[in-house]
């Protein structure tokens, strides 16, 4: 979207959404047990991999070698973040799954 057309109303709506989302981010993780700190960090890391969507939008409007190169770089980096993030988190969590009913 052309940023020069961003209306004041759209900016204000984005502000409300940001503030509310920040509250949710705070509330949702504030009781996490120590054991899950790392998987949670890793999962959150995967979530911000959504930046790959931003990279795609940049790619869509790119012309000229510089912008195409940048877009390609952004897509690669974003994909590494999102794919690697979810996979590695799942691997960590796999370790926790066998708990109940298993005694040595």
């Amino acid at each position: 979207m052309d940023p020069t057309t961003l209306s004041p109303f759209a900016l204000l709506a984005a502000l409300f959404i940001t503030v509310l989302a920040a509250f949710i981010g705070y509330e949702v993780v504030s009781k996490v047990p120590t054991m899950l700190h790392t998987p949670l960090m890793s999962g959150a890391n995967a979530v911000h991999g959504v930046i790959v969507v931003g990279a795609m939008l940049v790619a869509a409007t790119s012309d000229g070698p510089l912008r195409i190169a940048l877009a390609l770089l952004a897509v690669i980096l974003g994909t590494i973040n999102v794919v690697g993030g979810f996979v590695v988190t799942d691997r960590m969590l796999e370790m926790f799954k066998k708990r109940p009913g298993e005694r040595g």
Binding site: P3, I24, G25, S30
Partner: protein
Amino acid sequence: MTDLNGWQIATFFVWLIGSVTFILALKFLASPKTARVGNLLGAAGMALVILWTFFTYDLAQPGSEPGMLENWWIIVVGGAIGSVAGVLGARRVPMTAMPQMVAIFNGAGGGAAAVVALAEFLEFAGHGEGLLPLPFVIATLAGGIIGSVALTGSIVAFGKLQGIVAARPVMLPGQQIITGALFLAMLAIAVYIAAFENSIPLFLLFVALALVAGVVLTMPIGGADMPVVVSLLNSYTGIAVAASGFVLSNYALLIAGTLVGASGAILTQLMTKAMNRSLVNVLFAGFGTGGDVAGGEEGEESLKEINAEDAAVLMAYGKRVIIVPGYGMAVAQAQGPVRELMDLLVSKGVDVQFAIHPVAGRMPGHMNVLLAEANVPYDRLQEMDEINDDFADTDVALVIGANNVVNPVAREAGSPISGMPILNVDQAQHVIVLKRGRGAGFAGIPNPLFSLEKTSMLFGNAKETVESLVQGVKTA
């Protein structure tokens, strides 16, 4: 903005669904029972948003022909390269190297956010006469600086954790002056770009300085504190992604980025609290040095050694043994033999428990993950608070590659780990410590536990020493 077509409206709903899955993902990840489902849910929402964007981009542009994204090959090629790299990295990494891996993925995300900010600025700067709207410029500047710091900071963190960069705090000469000058310069450039001229070269300089800043800020922090730094940089990347979402008017990015920015900040706080430190202390105190700094050799003469057979007998004929695993067990990948040792002792009627310190190892939950991997039953893993009173009734405390988390100097004032809660290993009848050499631990602090009368040292790589203990118990 006021005349949205049907595809655009549908796009908002996809963003909403995506955002809800991200919220639920974080929520579920915060509780052991639901964590795995949470991660999968987040991945599903992410896939939805990505595929929707790919297939409907053109449809969602007013007045354009139906069809896929114009430059679709960039996405396909970039996506393929990124996926292969991501999956290989994530699959191949050993459990001990998880924090590094998270650092690298986070750095990639920060880099992507910085590039998106840069590309957006390049696209719109200098086209019209007048200045670009202030919110747009601020958001691209924010995405550029925060994303860049996250990128290079994460790379340094990776290097320190992986041992490529010196783990000890590296202070530049005049560190504070350099940092101050860097930030002043970036501030001046930012003000100039926003208020006077949307200059592309200056924007590039701004990003370059931010990349340097990421290195300068992270080098002085010791390797042991890197997981905290990674968590903080993770939060930064979230903020950079939110800024991109703002620039692109994309609520999925805005919400996901803000969520991670906020939850990452809290998580960082929680992590420093688990180490009884403050964030300021972590970032600026130069703690967490390598073992080669302080005089780790003190009291060397007074260390009493024991051989594996004697140690095995001590345990096999005890009533209760508490095993205290630490970073050394992770390094040596000794969890398999440790489990075997536990099984043998249990079969001889010994009550074996594991005492898990919250920050043992190099990431929270590190020990739980490793021992679960080795199929140690969950109900033998005791949190510090649960088990700390039991050491007094314990015949043998077996310390496998732990150091800081059992260091009694934490109870006294004046040491860098003062006030950190520790495991009361020194209250057991006998203490057996498995480590490779006489040096101090990662934080370089001498450990008086090792020179106690009741303590015996069993030197060697933990995997081999534990295996010899297993042999010893078998024959005992």
